[in-house]
């Protein structure tokens, strides 16, 4: 199953600055800062793959 949601801050951080293609520049760097222990408001990133799916499938989201 493709992972479409990456968390950051609030204790659990899935991504890092290396994941720019998947998380976008902003999301990847938020994850990186959270990993460095900097104060980042917790949240999550919907990946670029969701966007590609959305724009290619008549504005719908992946099932899983």
């Amino acid at each position: 199953m493709t992972k479409y949601v990456y968390e950051f801050g609030g204790g659990a951080t899935d991504g890092s600055a290396k994941d720019k293609n998947l998380l976008g520049g902003k999301g990847a760097n938020l994850a990186e800062m959270a990993s460095l222990g900097l104060p980042v408001p917790p949240g999550f990133t919907l990946t670029t793959e969701v966007c590609v799916h959305y724009n290619e499938n008549d504005k719908t989201y992946p099932a899983d």
């Binding site: 801050g9 609030g10 600055a17 293609n21 998947l22 998380l23 976008g24 520049g25 902003k26 999301g27 760097n29 938020l30 990186e32 800062m33 460095l36 900097l38 104060p39 980042v40 408001p41 917790p42 949240g43 999550f44 990133t45 919907l46 990946t47 670029t48 793959e49 969701v50 966007c51 590609v52 959305y54 724009n55 504005k59």
Partner: protein, 788 residues
């Protein structure tokens, strides 16, 4: 890119949760302010209700109550305004503002995904070479509130000065505000540091003074992020009730000057290596440093002053809209875009403008950040500027400047002047010299220049050119003092009268070379013998013919007849290049004599040995070269005997026809060097005339048939293959044959990388491209250190 993708703040607020936020924060005014911001932003971004509708409602409300600032709005005022806002949404859409947070969230996510395909994102991707297939991500993040009273704030910062590169904190913040207020330039923000506040002469306290604890923490984060990323960072942050939160970090956009200083400083401090420093600089950005600045002594007429948002100076016509900027720039006008503020919709117009002026916004406003990234001069926050779109003008304290009037913008001082102000060429800074030195250490390619007049050659030498790779001799014949003689030569009926005319040209042509050799001293100079077809030198229309006949005393009928005789259907593939030398050997003989005599003269005068490389154009067969070389060598022997001074010369050829590339082994038997004329080689390989390509090349690029314009970046697969074949066959036949390139690709970073990999000896480019070529060659050598 700031603001390129959409953002929605305060999502989740509705009529019920806003009451909860009021209780939790103990601040009802704040909660209601956040809610009305949310309605406005959500309605604009997700529902497509124009944000000015809400601004108008707010302005009217303030007017009715005699307020002049948002801070005068009480909780009850915001509450009343929210009712008006919700009514405006209902009026516009025929349905209520969504109250369900889940519905709000999915709506916002969909809007961000869709914004990937909107006009401004498409334009930005095109300008930045980003494929649409990448998609955007969406971040959903807990809100932290910068608008929760005076112990809260929001700001944008750079870990170093993005304009000068100085190692100092740089940025702006607003107390009791949300992020959009700073970036959108709606309120003019305050300085981050005390030093910056004092320099700007601001009365409002800096963050360093107003919030010392939060600022201290922020300064630590700056250091930590820089050390971690090993690069200057562009940061967004919010302080919520004295607690600092980081909202964004990324490598900061910077001017070329700042990029050089930061790279050199970071290498000096050991944070990065010298090689990394060289790789950090975008070669084409060096163009910015070569831009002129205002002449200090020139008279000037100051119109307005704002913030020095992006350095550089430019003169142009005033335009007040981005579409107008685009239209006029396309028509070849130099324009200055003057706006109240800019938004991402303006991106194409900003790109077209020579400089940008905004009435509102700070040093980190959209206009400032984008302009610095593009290397476009920008003055932001020129608050005395009042723009009247309808009247098509702007005014400053009663003085009116109309659309189309000429103004000059100095982004370094933040000043705007009426009319044109004289400019001077910039001095190359110490950082430039240092970094170019590192690039020179790394590179293996030699860098030469294309140039035929002393000014160009001197400029190129100053930029570090190590020789001339292409001196076109035809430009010399267009000069007034010899065009008449040259025409006389073309009109000559027999060889004797042709030689007669050529003898009159010889001393002027010799002087051309003397001037160039004096500048280049013992550096090699490649001189290309006459290349274009003869009819290019004759007048074309009847009026022109009459004028020339009158001025020169040559018979008009004769001129006309000869011009018709020389007319060609396809001159690009006609009687040009070495084909002229074969038909009229005396032309090349005269040119060779001029070169050799100039060499002997300057060699004696400067007590050194001038190195000339005589280049025969448009060769397709070894026979052509053999015949012409023999003739030229004969002249060399004569000049040697006459002058009693040695002459150092080699004879080589352009490789600009596919046949020459394929027959390189035969040609190399006679050629002591090859210089690839990749402009013509691209035309002849594609069977494509450059002058006509503009009509369809954009379609080819848009449809992905060609990745890039092959006249800008060399087509490595096709044209590049011919180059590789010619090098391999040429070197096999004559080991050590000198190989260079003198097409315009010689100044293109991607092409230079390719020429490095092919193992060429040098590239040659126009004078202002020489620094770009030096840096690109250094980068290519570093990048491929372990592979070649």
């Amino acid at each position: 890119m700031p603001g390129m993708m959409d953002t929605v703040l305060n999502l989740g607020l509705n009529d019920i949760t806003v009451a909860g936020l009021a209780i939790l924060s103990g601040n009802r005014r704040f909660a209601l302010d956040s809610y009305r911001r949310f309605i406005q932003m959500y309605a604009d971004v997700v529902l497509g209700v124009k944000h000015h509708i809400f601004e108008d409602i707010l302005e009217r409300y303030k007017d009715d109550n005699g307020y002049h600032s948002d801070t005068q709005m009480s909780a009850d005022d915001w509450s009343a305004l929210i009712v008006d806002y919700k009514k405006a949404v209902r009026d516009a859409l025929g349905q209520d503002f969504p109250q369900d947070p889940t519905e709000q969230l999915w709506g916002a996510v969909g809007a961000v995904f869709e914004s990937w395909m909107n006009e401004r994102a498409i334009v930005y991707r095109r300008l930045s070479d980003i494929p649409a297939s990448w998609g955007t991500a969406v971040n959903i993040q807990a809100m932290v509130f910068g608008n929760m009273g005076d112990s809260s704030a929001t700001g944008v910062a750079f870990t170093r000065n993005p304009s000068t590169g100085a190692n100092e904190h740089y940025g702006e913040y607003l107390i009791n505000a949300q992020g959009e207020d700073v970036v959108a330039g709606i309120r003019t923000p305050q300085s981050l540091t005390k030093k910056a506040r004092q320099e700007m002469g601001d009365a409002e306290p800096s963050m360093e003074e107003a919030m010392p604890d939060a600022y201290g923490e922020l300064a630590q984060v700056f250091t930590q992020l820089e050390n971690h990323y090993r690069d200057m960072q562009d940061i967004e942050f919010t302080v919520e009730r004295d607690t600092l939160w980081m909202l964004q970090t990324r490598s900061g956009k910077r001017t070329a000057k700042a990029a050089l200083k930061i790279a050199v400083d970071m290498a000096d401090s050991g944070m990065i290596s010298q090689e990394e420093a060289v790789l950090r600089i975008e070669p084409l950005s060096l163009d910015q440093l070569l831009h002129p600045t205002l002449d200090e002594n020139a008279p000037r007429d100051l119109v307005a002053t704002g913030l020095p948002a992006s350095p550089g100076a430019a003169t142009g016509e005033v335009v007040l809209s981005s579409s107008e900027a685009e239209r006029l720039a396309k028509a070849g006008h130099k324009v200055i875009l003057v706006r109240t503020e800019t938004s991402p919709e303006d991106i194409a117009g900003m790109h077209a403008a020579g400089a940008i002026v905004t009435a509102r916004g700070g040093m980190t406003s959209h206009a400032a950040v984008v302009a610095r990234g593009m290397g476009t001069p920008c003055v932001s926050g020129a608050s005395s500027v009042r723009i009247d779109q309808e009247a098509g003008n702007f005014s400053v304290a009663g003085r009116v400047i109309k659309q189309g009037d000429i103004i000059t913008v100095d982004g370094a001082s933040g000043q705007v002047f009426a009319g044109a102000v004289a400019m001077v060429q910039p001095e190359m800074s110490g950082d430039f010299t240092t970094l170019m030195g590192w690039a020179d250490e790394a590179r293996t390619l030699g860098i030469r220049t294309n140039g035929e007049n002393p000014t160009d050659v001197k400029t190129a030498k100053g930029f570090g050119a190590e020789g001339i790779g292409l001196c076109r001799t035809e430009h010399m014949f267009f000069e007034a003092d010899r065009l008449a003689h040259f025409r006389e030569m073309i009109l000559a009926e027999d060889k004797e009268s042709r030689i007669n005319a050529l003898e009159k040209i010889l001393p002027v042509q010799r002087q051309d070379f003397v001037d160039i050799f004096r500048i280049m001293e013992d550096k090699p100079c490649t001189i290309r013998l006459l290349d274009p077809p003869l009819h290019e030198f004759l007048p074309q229309s009847e009026d022109d013919v009459a004028a020339v006949a009158k001025a020169t005393g040559l018979p008009a009928g004769e001129l006309m007849r000869r011009a018709n005789e020389l007319h060609e259907t396809n001159p690009m593939l006609g009687h040009r290049g070495c084909r002229l030398g074969i038909s009229y050997p005396e032309i090349y003989e005269m040119q060779a004599r001029a070169i050799f005599e100039a060499q002997a003269l300057v060699s004696k005068e400067l007590d050194l040995l001038v190195h000339a490389e005589i280049m025969i154009p448009l060769v397709s067969s070894d026979k052509e070269l053999e015949i012409l070389k023999t003739a030229i060598e004969k002249i060399a022997d004569q000049v040697r005997a006459e002058n009693g001074h040695d002459i150092a010369y080699t004879i080589g050829t352009m490789i600009e026809l596919p046949r020459a590339a394929l027959r390189a082994a035969d040609i190399a038997k006679h050629a002591e060097f090859f210089s690839f004329g990749t402009n013509d080689l691209t035309q002849t390989t594609f069977g494509l005339s450059r002058d006509d390509a503009g009509k369809f090349l954009p379609d080819y690029v848009a449809q992905g048939i060609m990745e890039k314009d092959p006249f800008v970046t060399i087509d490595q697969d096709g044209v590049g293959d011919l180059v590789a074949i010619a090098i391999e066959r040429g070197r096999a036949a004559r080991p050590g044959i000198k190989i260079g390139i003198c097409g315009e690709h010689g100044g293109d970073p991607a092409s230079i990388d390719f020429f490095h990999r092919l193992g060429m000896d040098y590239v040659s480019c126009s004078p202002y491209r020489v620094p770009i070529a030096r840096l690109s060659a250094g980068q290519a050598a570093i990048r491929h250190k372990n592979t070649t």
